[in-house]
């Protein structure tokens, strides 16, 4: 494996930045390094979230390997060089968190949180959990309020915006269908017998200008 790593590193160094051969070599090098047991790093103090420190350090390490491949000395082993960088980054990150006064890193994965809270490992097969976690009672009610506003359409502010000669293809209908009813554009286009680019383009142009109004509306 070490021979393969060296071959790829030297290959990447040979070619010019942004060239195809260099990109392919770097990609393959990273793929090899990510194989289990390759990059080891040091033990992380127990009060820290091992996975998070590992991920952050790995992120920085991969980026550094790619950007600074020319710093690799072919007389050394690639794994040696990469692990050296990896360990340094781990330490930098731990120092960073310590300085911020954090002794433990909060888990941010919304799903993993539910893992942690339960003793049993609850596998998530779909991401409905994520949906539930992301939508508090507050956001649900805001969503309903906005829907209601659009349905009520005061002064026809939404329905009067429509595609030329097609009053039925108006912003009220499109917003409710696409956003609240979650219908895909090709579906809506078929119903209206209009091309997808036409209704999609119209919506992208006409709907976002209402955002500041929605923000204000929800404040009261």
């Amino acid at each position: 494996m070490d021979r393969r790593l060296k071959q790829l590193a030297i290959e990447a160094q040979q070619y010019l930045p942004k060239s195809l051969k260099r990109r392919l070599a770097l990609n393959q090098l990273c793929a090899e390094l990510l194989k289990p047991g390759c990059l080891t790093g040091s033990t992380v103090p127990s009060e820290f979230d091992r996975q998070e420190i590992y991920n952050e350090a790995l992120s920085l390490t991969l980026m550094e390997i790619c950007k600074k491949i020319n710093n690799y000395n072919p007389e050394k082993e690639v794994r040696q060089w990469c692990n050296f960088i990896f360990k340094k980054r781990q330490q930098d990150i731990i120092d960073k968190y310590r300085k911020q006064g954090m002794t433990s890193i909060p888990r941010v994965s919304a799903l993993a949180k539910s893992d942690r809270e339960n003793a049993t490992f609850s596998r998530v097969n779909n991401l409905d959990d994520l949906e539930n976690i992301l939508s508090s009672a507050e956001t649900r009610s805001a969503s309903m309020e906005l829907r209601q506003l659009i349905e009520e359409d005061p002064d026809c502010m939404f329905s009067r915006e429509h595609i030329r000669d097609r009053p039925d293809a108006n912003l009220k209908f499109l917003a409710i269908s696409h956003i609240w009813d979650d219908r895909i554009w090709s579906d809506i286009a078929e119903e209206l017998k209009l091309p997808v680019p036409t209704i999609h383009g119209f919506f992208q142009k006409k709907f976002p200008p209402f955002y500041p109004y929605f923000r204000e509306y929800l404040k009261h």
Partner: protein, 308 residues
Amino acid sequence: MTESLAFTVPLTIEAHQIARQLSSAQFVPKRAKRAYLNSLAVYATRFYLQCMEIESDCFFDRDPSMPTIEACSVLEISDIGKLECCPILESDRTVRLPEETWGDRIGYIIVQFNESLTHANLLGFIQKTTLESVPLDRLESLETFLTYITELEESQPANSIQEQKTVKLSQWWYDTVETGWGTLDALFPRTQFAWRNSPVPTDHSKHSVTRAKILNLARHDRVALALALLQLNNSEIEIWVEIYPLQPNIYLPENLKLSVLDEMGVQVIQAEARTTENIQIKFVADPGELFGVRVSLEEVSVTESFVV
């Protein structure tokens, strides 16, 4: 046959924070979830592109305050086009490529997430589709993607008008000049060159400045293009454009054409050389106006763009 090239990106707190911010701006919970995953997909792809030294930009480089859900999944590759980042889960067998993107994207990168969202695996690439639902076995490898992008980068036309830098004439008053442009004295020894036919004041005058550049006309001889700016009493600028032969030639090549183009690239003034020592065009412009100068000889032409 080498195994299909892939790349795994570790997802950090930062990735999740961005995703959280984006998804909280959505109107509907189901879309919030989709926005979250789209955001992670863009994050992972962008990381990969950075490792591959491909420049790109996305919604979180600009103002992430209220992006549309569509914006959440697009990565703009500099000078090339929009790449759509499509999130899928380990249990998915197909990927959805929405119809509204078909005309507008250079391709689709498929990003697979593990259950706990700690890693993103860039599985593959699809260049074009006429189906909204594509089975995963149709995916091409990242090798194909890299080949495709590298080809697109390399085929950028070197002389296209967008690529060429527009010369900012207003900077000339402050002695700031772009590469290639120099004073007449710097570029040509006095003996060789003189503004014989034009009463354009030299640089000693506060109200004028002159700069020149050597133009290569492929297999023909090189010539000198000179521009003199003369500040008029109102805010207008009088512009003199001249072409001169370079030593050892005394005359300009026959049929050499000098044209001034408007900002749309349409020719508005033209002069042609016939056994002449130089040709000259002069006109008046306002600050901020764009124009082009084209020098052509037979099949060769060089165009310079300027903004007053």
